[in-house]
C-alpha cells in the first residue's frame, strides 16, 4: 500500500466557467513532506486544496490517502485539516476552547481536551493565552491559534490555503519559522497553497506549479528554478532570460556562441531555448572572456540591481549587487555558468507569449 497522499487525474469544472478549474492533476506527497502549490490567481490552487479536503467533488480522478480512495469519505472523516487565509476561529469560544474543539467533538472529556489544547498552544508559542477571547488577539496570533487548532485534530494531512497572505512580511517570516518548528516536532504531511515564490521556497520541500488548472511541474524547489520543464514554468518562476538556439551533443548553439550544458542530465538534440536565471548570469569587465554586451537598462531593487544588457541582439537580464557601478551604454562581458544553464526543447513551447522585458511583479 502506497503511503502518503496521492492525487490521480483530478479534474473539476464549475458551471459557467469557460475552462476547467482542474485539468488532470496528478501529484504524490510523501508522508511528512511539505509541498507548496504555486501558481497565479485563478490557476486552480484553492480548488485543488478544497477537492483534496472533500469540500468539492471532482468531476474525474481520485484522492488517495495511504492507498485508500477518499471518494466516498466525507470531509469530517478524511483526517485532513485546512487552515484558511482567514483564521476563522470560532468567535463564541475562547482561545483554549477553539484549540480544544477537535477533541471536544470527538467526545474527549472537557478537562482533558483543554489540557491537550494548552500543549498545542505552547507548541505555537501562545502559552498563557488560553482564556483570552479570540477577538483580543492580533492577526498573527489568531493564525497561530488556527494552526494549533488544526494540529490538535491530529490530521494525517494539513492543508494550508494561503494562511499567511494577510500578514505583514515580518510576521510572515515568523510564521514560516513556526511551521518549520511544527514540522520538526510533529512531521505532518503538508499541502500548502501560495502565490508567493519566496514563501514556497522558505517552507516547502517541493513545489507543484499550477497554471490554468494544469500541473506544469512538481519537483524540488531548486529544479523549478534551474531546470524548468518548459518555458512557461521558467517564466512563471520569474525567469527572464531566453536564448533561442539548437542543442547538439550536450552543447547549446546560439547567437551568443556555444555553451556546454550541465553533464548531469541528458539534453535531446534539436531546437531548444537556453535558460539561465537572472541571479546566475554574470556581468564581468570588458577585458574578461564572455559575450560582449551593452547595458540598456538599470533598475534598483533595494539591495539588488536589475541590469538589462543586449548581446548580439538578445536582451538579457542580470540581478547584481549595487557594487557593480554600471551605467546605460557601458560595455560588459556576459558569462553563462554551465551549472546554471538549462535547455528547453521546442516541443514544450508555452501558451504564454515570451517576455519582452523582465516581469517586475514576478521578480518582486
Amino acid at each position: 500500500m502506497r503511503q502518503g497522499l496521492e492525487l490521480q487525474g483530478l479534474s473539476k469544472s464549475f458551471r459557467g466557467a469557460p475552462a476547467p478549474a482542474l485539468d488532470e492533476v496528478s501529484l504524490s506527497l510523501a508522508p511528512g513532506s511539505c509541498t507548496a502549490v504555486l501558481g497565479p490567481s485563478g490557476s486552480g490552487k484553492s480548488t485543488l486544496l478544497r477537492t483534496v479536503a472533500g469540500l468539492e467533488i471532482p468531476d474525474r480522478g481520485s484522492v488517495l490517502l495511504n492507498g485508500q480512495d477518499l471518494a466516498a469519505v466525507r470531509p469530517e472523516r478524511r483526517g485532513m485539516v485546512m487552515v484558511f487565509q482567514r483564521p476563522l476561529l470560532f468567535p463564541h469560544l475562547n482561545v483554549r476552547d477553539n484549540v480544544a474543539f477537535p477533541a471536544t467533538i470527538r467526545g474527549v472529556p472537557r478537562r482533558r481536551a483543554r489540557t491537550d489544547a494548552e500543549s498545542y498552544l505552547e507548541l505555537v508559542h501562545m502559552k498563557g493565552t488560553g482564556k483570552r477571547a479570540v477577538t483580543d488577539l492580533s492577526g498573527g496570533q489568531q493564525q497561530r491559534v488556527a494552526i494549533a487548532r488544526g494540529l490538535a485534530a491530529r490530521p494525517a494531512v494539513l492543508l494550508l490555503d494561503e494562511p499567511f497572505n494577510a500578514l505583514d512580511p515580518e510576521l510572515r517570516s515568523a510564521m514560516h519559522d513556526l511551521l518549520a518548528h511544527v514540522r520538526k516536532k510533529l512531521h505532518p504531511t503538508i499541502l500548502m497553497v501560495t502565490h508567493d515564490h519566496d514563501e514556497a521556497a522558505a517552507v516547502a520541500d517541493r513545489i507543484a506549479l499550477l497554471h490554468a488548472g494544469r500541473l506544469l511541474q512538481h519537483d524540488p524547489i531548486d529544479a523549478l528554478y534551474t531546470r524548468p520543464a518548459t518555458l512557461q514554468v521558467s517564466r512563471l518562476m520569474g525567469g527572464t532570460n531566453e536564448i533561442p538556439g539548437t542543442v547538439k551533443d550536450g552543447m547549446h548553439y546560439s547567437v551568443l556562441g556555444a555553451h556546454a550544458l550541465p553533464a548531469d542530465q541528458q539534453w535531446p538534440d534539436g531546437p531548444a531555448t537556453l535558460i539561465i536565471r537572472q541571479e546566475h548570469l554574470l556581468l564581468v569587465p570588458n577585458h574578461s572572456s564572455g559575450s560582449l554586451a551593452v547595458v540598456t537598462g538599470l533598475r534598483s531593487r533595494g539591495p539588488r540591481r536589475l541590469i538589462t544588457v543586449t548581446a548580439a541582439g538578445v536582451d538579457l537580464h542580470a540581478e547584481v549587487t549595487p557594487s557593480h557601478a554600471l551605467s546605460i551604454g557601458d560595455s560588459v562581458r556576459v558569462q553563462l555558468p554551465t551549472a546554471a544553464l538549462a535547455a528547453v526543447g521546442a516541443d514544450t513551447a508555452p501558451d504564454t507569449p515570451p517576455l519582452t522585458s523582465p516581469d517586475w511583479k514576478v521578480l518582486a
Binding site: 479536503a53 469540500l55 466525507r74 470531509p75 469530517e76 472523516r77 478524511r78 485532513m80 485539516v81 485546512m82 484558511f84 482567514r86 476563522l88 470560532f90 468567535p91 463564541h92 469560544l93 475562547n94 474543539f101 477537535p102 471536544t104 467533538i105 470527538r106 477571547a133 487548532r149 488544526g150 485534530a153 492543508l159
Partner: protein, 298 residues
C-alpha cells in the same frame, strides 16, 4: 512666536477640540427627536396607565392611592397571567425551533431555501388579525381542513379548544417567519467557512449544528425570540378571535375591561396593562442578562 508655531498651535487646538465636540454633537442632535418622541409616548403613556391603575387618575372623585384595581380580579388575574405565559412561552419556543430550522434551510441557498425565504418574507407583513382569521377558516371544525377530510363531527377542538392550539399555531407560524429571517440574516454575515472549518476539524452535521451553528445563531435567536415572546404575551387579537371565552389571557381581559360599560373598570384594565408591561420588561431584562453571558455578544 514664529508664524509656523502659531499655525501649529491653532492646528493643534482644532485637532484637540475636534474629536470631543464636532463629530459627537451632530450625532446627539440627530437622535434628539427620536429620544423625545419615545420618552413622551412610552414614558408618558406608561406613567398615565400606572397612575390610573393606582387610583391617581379616577374618572370621577378624588385621586387616592390604592391597589384595589390589582386585587379586584385576583384569581382571574393569576389564571390569566399563567395562561398568557403558557401561550406566549409555547408559541415562542415553537417559533424559535421552526424559525431556526427555516434559517438553516434558507442558508443552504438552494431552491427550497429561496422558497422558504420568500414565504417568510410574505408572512411577516401580514397582520396578526388576518393570520388569525385565516387560521380560524383553516382549522375550525367548520373550516377548510375539516371539510376536506370530511371529519366535521370528529374534528378536534383546535379553535376555541381547551389547549389554545389555534392561538399557539398562529403565533408560532407568524413569529417563526420573523425569527427565521432574523437568524438567517445573522448567519449570512458569518462565513460559510466556519462550517467547513468545523467539518474539517472532524465535526459531523449534528455536531456542527450543536457546536457551531447554534452558538453563532444564539444572540439573534434570543433577541428575536424575546421580541416574539413579548409580542405574543401582550397582543390580544389572536387569542380574542381563536381562543375560549374563559379563562382569558391578560390582554383579552384588559381589552374587555377597558371596553366595559362600567367606566370604573378602566383602572382594572390599566392594572392588567401594568402587569403585562412589567412581565414583558422582566422578560427583556432576563434575555439581556443571558445575552451578556454569551461570549459572542460580549
Amino acid at each position: 512666536m514664529p508664524e509656523s508655531e502659531v499655525l501649529a498651535t491653532r492646528s493643534g487646538q482644532r485637532t484637540a477640540a475636534g474629536p470631543s465636540l464636532k463629530p459627537c454633537m451632530p450625532g446627539v442632535l440627530l437622535a434628539v427627536p427620536a429620544v423625545v418622541l419615545v420618552t413622551v409616548v412610552v414614558g408618558g403613556g406608561s406613567a398615565m396607565v400606572a397612575a390610573q391603575s393606582l387610583g391617581l387618575m379616577p374618572l370621577v372623585g378624588r385621586p387616592e392611592l390604592s391597589a384595589a384595581a390589582y386585587t379586584a380580579h385576583g384569581g382571574d388575574l393569576l389564571v390569566g397571567a399563567g395562561l398568557s405565559l403558557a401561550i406566549a412561552g409555547t408559541s415562542t419556543l415553537l417559533a424559535c425551533l421552526v424559525g431556526f430550522t427555516a434559517a438553516l434551510i434558507i442558508m443552504q441557498g438552494r431552491w427550497c431555501g429561496k422558497l422558504v425565504a420568500a414565504m417568510s418574507t410574505l408572512s411577516v407583513p401580514l397582520p396578526h388579525i388576518v393570520g388569525a382569521a385565516a387560521t380560524g377558516l383553516l382549522l375550525a371544525d367548520s373550516g377548510l381542513l375539516a371539510r376536506v377530510f370530511g371529519a366535521a363531527e370528529g374534528w378536534p377542538a383546535i379553535v376555541g379548544g381547551p389547549w389554545w392550539v389555534a392561538v399557539i399555531f398562529e403565533y408560532a407560524w407568524k413569529e417563526s417567519a420573523f425569527v427565521g429571517l432574523v437568524v438567517a440574516g445573522t448567519l449570512a454575515t458569518r462565513p460559510v467557512d466556519y462550517e467547513e472549518t468545523a467539518a474539517l476539524l472532524g465535526a459531523g452535521r449534528l455536531r456542527r449544528l450543536r457546536h457551531v451553528l447554534l452558538p453563532l445563531s444564539l444572540p439573534a435567536l434570543m433577541i428575536s425570540g424575546t421580541i416574539a415572546f413579548i409580542y405574543s404575551f401582550g397582543s390580544y387579537e389572536v387569542a380574542w378571535l381563536l381562543g375560549r371565552p374563559y379563562p382569558e389571557p391578560l390582554p383579552v381581559m384588559a381589552l374587555r375591561l377597558y371596553n366595559s360599560v362600567s367606566l370604573t373598570s378602566r383602572p382594572e384594565a390599566a392594572a392588567i396593562g401594568v402587569i403585562t408591561a412589567a412581565v414583558s420588561l422582566g422578560a427583556a431584562l432576563v434575555a439581556l442578562a443571558f445575552l451578556r453571558k454569551i461570549p459572542l455578544w460580549r
